[in-house]
């Protein structure tokens, strides 16, 4: 797309390098409240009873003004909100963009038109909008009449009922002296000086193709495609809801229309452009980010000072704790020293008294005999020594010399009861010690074995490199397969009806039931071989689902895979960075990521990014529907096909056919897409006879020229005959119209 994009070449690793941060981020607007519109008396004062009020009664906007105006004085969406405020005990009516001024009004707003069609559906709303038009145009009707003729646009082949009801309102409610109806796109064509041509009018709710010959429309050849800006916006909304199912923001209908208007364009070569739309090169230009309003989760960013203060505080409290601990240790030491002193005194005492007295003293101190007392003193001495060392800070490692067990070699006969006891104790300690030594030796052996294995492995690699690589590759494949299987299982367990889930249910039922399954019994007695194969334990994996059920295992597989890939990377020349699984599943290579998030990484934590929409393929996919309605499931032919059929078949006999081809005229807001003209020209060129002259042009103002055309038409004296007067209305019925070159044909 952009020339700058061609310069970026993917780095050799095969991963695409992330693009620099997006340059432009689009936003959405709230529906505009245009503010209070003052009543415009000037036009009414200038007008005479012959000056017509021109109303382009469009489904996207109603435009009204006087026939002498250069552009409509009033432009308002056909919205109407009427509700009763119970608190104030008062009824409110708001029209057009005024409904956006207030939340309740917005909620109560109703459209004049049936959604997605060009037929008026809500006549109360229609009356409200007309009230508003006449009010703002300053119509000061005396005795309950507007006293000005009305020219109003209506859809092609308007339904009799809709016209009848409109006439009733205009004549009976507003007392219009005369009324004329016309087709908006024909007014626009007439205003742009067309005589023979094909009017392609793509507007808000529908697209019409009307051949015009000698300034007269061939209404019987007219074709309507039920697609317009409204349907485009609806379609885009549908696509976006599917694309971002958990989008936290709300996209309103007017916003969707804005998105279509701002970001979509007609592709010149849809097939070709589409198939390269999500290519990495230049994606940053094609991908438009639309930011919706969000509130950032407040993560208090601490300043340097605060961090330093916090660290200082932590240190301080640590110091305090240390000091406290030291103090406590000191107290403990003191207590122990006192205790030690006391027991030493006690020994002295015992030695100095009689045996009986000594026994009594021992008893009172909870000792059985002297040896226990001695043991106690030894322990205390040791503890005191240790504590002192610690306090001083130089805790010297006591030399670890292998302990001796002298008593073990002495036969039992030579020992007294005490000795035997001690011997038993020493035996226990010795076995402990031996076990420890054995474990140590085992560890050494294992280390040696691994070293040996590695050596063998290296030897093997040097001898039989092919085989070695093959082995590694197979192992890598196996792990990848395992990971994939696991992912699939996980995905299938999400579906309640899947086979995997049914198997799981069965397993749970089997595990829960007390009696063994029939199958096992038939299989051969009750020799339970569960666990003989490691894979048996997989049963519990299928049973346990949800969070953290298999995180560990996954980690394991991933580290194994990493190891193998590291080895391959180191030694296999054919295996490079690009072939690692990580590189292959890197987000920059993912089409889905490009579709959802453009060429930028996505941070799911970020509220900002969660509230972003990326428009890429949609930008050409949505306007394409006019050319290929089947994309959106609309079972109608596209405009090129219709135009071709009108030009080559239906007008085949017409003497003006060549002239019609020379003027393909575009009007209506939905043709404003960039590239619409060129695309239509190219496609028509391809289907029309070679050498025939073809011209496609656009209305000077696709949106307002219909109104201007109607105003100019109303000013012409010869148009006066086409107005239906009040008397004719009363005589000939409400659906009576007079035919003229820019209006519908009369049918009953």
């Amino acid at each position: 797309m952009a020339p700058s994009a061609l310069a970026d070449i993917p780095p050799p690793s095969g991963r695409n390098s992330p693009k620099p941060a997006p340059i432009k981020i689009w936003t959405v607007k709230e529906p505009p409240f245009e503010g209070f519109r003052p009543i415009d008396h000037e036009g009414y004062r200038r007008s005479t009873s012959d000056t017509a009020i021109i109303i382009d009664n469009g489904s996207s906007a109603v435009r009204a003004g006087w026939s002498f105006d250069a552009k409509p004085r009033l432009l308002t969406p056909p919205l109407w909100a009427k509700y009763r405020d119970r608190k104030l005990n008062r009824t409110f009516t708001f029209i057009g963009s005024d409904v956006y001024s207030d939340g309740t009004a917005r909620g109560q707003a109703k459209n004049v038109y049936e959604p997605g069609s060009n037929i008026v559906n809500n006549w109360d709303a229609m009356e409200g909008v007309l009230d508003y038009c006449f009010l703002k145009l300053g119509v000061d009707g005396a005795n309950g009449r507007i006293d000005r003729p009305v020219v109003m646009t209506e859809p092609v082949a308007n339904l009799g009922y809709a016209r009848k009801t409109m006439s009733e309102i205009l004549f009976e409610c507003y007392g219009a002296p005369s009324v004329a109806y016309g087709i908006d796109s024909l007014f626009s064509y007439n205003y742009n000086g067309g005589r023979h041509g094909l009017v392609v009018s793509s507007s808000y709710t529908s697209t019409h193709l009307i051949p015009v010959v000698d300034s007269k429309p061939l209404l019987s050849q007219t074709t309507r495609l039920n697609w317009g800006r409204f349907q485009s916006a609806e379609y885009l909304l549908k696509l976006l809801r599917l694309k971002y199912p958990s989008f936290p923001g709300k996209i309103s209908d007017p916003q969707a229309e804005d998105l279509v208007r701002e970001h979509c364009y007609v592709s010149q070569d849809y097939e070709h452009e589409l198939s390269h739309y999500l290519d990495w090169t230049g994606l940053e230009d094609r991908d438009h980010i639309v930011q919706f309003p969000y509130t950032e989760q407040v993560v208090v960013q601490k300043t340097e000072e605060e961090l330093a203060a916090a660290a200082e505080k932590r240190k301080e409290s640590g110091r305090r704790l240390q000091a406290q601990a030291a103090k406590m240790r000191l107290e403990k030491l003191k207590r122990k020293e006192e205790e030690l002193e006391y027991y030493q005194q006690l020994t002295q005492q015992i030695q100095n008294t009689t045996k009986k007295e000594g026994k009594r003293i021992l008893d009172s101190n909870d000792f059985d005999d002297e040896s226990q007392l001695e043991k106690r003193i030894r322990e205390l001495e040791k503890a005191v020594r240790k504590a002192r060392n610690k306090d001083v800070g130089d805790e010297d490692e006591e030399p670890q010399e292998p302990p001796t067990f002298p008593l073990l070699d002495v036969p039992d006969e030579q020992l007294d009861e005490d000795g035997i006891k001690q011997k038993r104790q020493q035996r226990l300690m010795k076995s402990n010690y031996d076990a420890r030594q054995r474990a140590k030796a085992e560890k050494e052996k294992e280390k040696a074995r691994l070293a040996e294995e590695q050596r063998l492995d290296e030897e093997r690699r040097e001898k039989d490199f092919e085989g070695w690589v093959e082995e590694r590759r197979i192992a890598r494949q196996a792990i990848i397969q395992k990971i994939k299987d696991r992912e699939r299982l996980k995905a299938e367990l999400g579906n309640r009806k899947s086979l995997a889930n049914q198997m799981r249910m069965k397993t749970i039922a089997n595990l829960a039931s007390d009696n063994p399954t029939k199958k096992r019994r038939r299989g051969g007695g009750d020799d339970d071989t569960f666990g003989a194969d490691d894979a048996d334990w997989g049963v519990y994996r299928t049973v346990a689902t949800g969070e953290q059920s298999d995180d560990e295992e996954e980690e394991d597989l991933n580290t194994n895979l990493k190891n193998i890939e590291a080895q391959l990377l180191k030694h296999d020349p054919n295996f490079n960075e690009e072939s690692t699984r990580e590189a292959q599943s890197d987000w920059t290579k993912s089409l889905v990521h490009a579709f959802l998030r453009g060429p930028w990484p996505y941070e799911s934590e970020s509220q900002k990014e969660a509230h972003q929409l990326h428009l890429n393929v949609e930008r050409i996919r949505v306007p394409e529907v006019v050319f290929q309605p089947s994309i959106s499931g609309l079972d109608q032919a596209g405009i090129v096909e219709i135009a071709a059929s009108i030009l080559t078949e239906r007008l085949a006999e017409n003497p003006y056919r060549k002239d019609v081809m020379k003027d393909i005229f575009l009007t209506g807001g939905n043709t404003l897409f960039q590239g619409f003209e060129e695309r239509l020209y190219n496609e028509l060129r391809a289907v029309l006879p070679a050498g025939s002259e073809l011209k496609v042009r656009r209305a000077g103002d696709c949106v307002l020229d219909a109104w201007r055309g109607a105003a100019r038409w109303a000013e012409k004296p010869q148009s006066k005959a086409s107005f239906v007067t009040r008397a004719e209305f009363q005589e000939k019925g409400a659906d009576y119209i007079k035919e003229h070159d820019l209006g519908n044909a009369y049918s009953y």
Partner: protein, 188 residues
Amino acid sequence: MAPLTTASDESNHQALLNKLDIYAIRKPFRNPHWKPPQRRNKNVKQIIADAARKESSVMASQTNSGVATPNQQGSEAVTPANGSGRPLNIAQAEQRLSTLVLGKNSRAAMAATTTGPAATYTNIESAPSFHPSSQRRYCDITGLPAPYTDPKTRLRYHDKEIFGLLRTMPQGTTEGYLAARGAHTVLK
């Protein structure tokens, strides 16, 4: 109190509403005796159905009465704006043997003239496409060209990565994608 919008604040909101409200404003141009007919809001479907019913009943009564006069020949060339109302009613004209020839002639004339049968809201709708381009297939998820169709979900998809994605989608989502293409199952 109605909720506010960004355009106003608490203090001036009610004043703004009072200013915008057109219910309370006098509308002198309206006929004070105007009473809208009951149930006048109809949707397109209803209107078309009503019109069809009316048309068929008119046709029947005209055929039976025998007093209705057929329009004079050639009236379809003149614009009815200048007077006489309706295009030729062929069915009715053919009822009389004497006008049988006339009916045939006028039908031929109609085919020859550029006007043809009158355009109605329903008959100007574009017909389904027979062009091969309407057979083109696009990925339901991304919109890219789709050479494959998943037989299980009936979704069209672009490549195997998308296939992996659509196989993990819940039922409702795949239906949503089908609905965007108008290919979903509608239960009636």
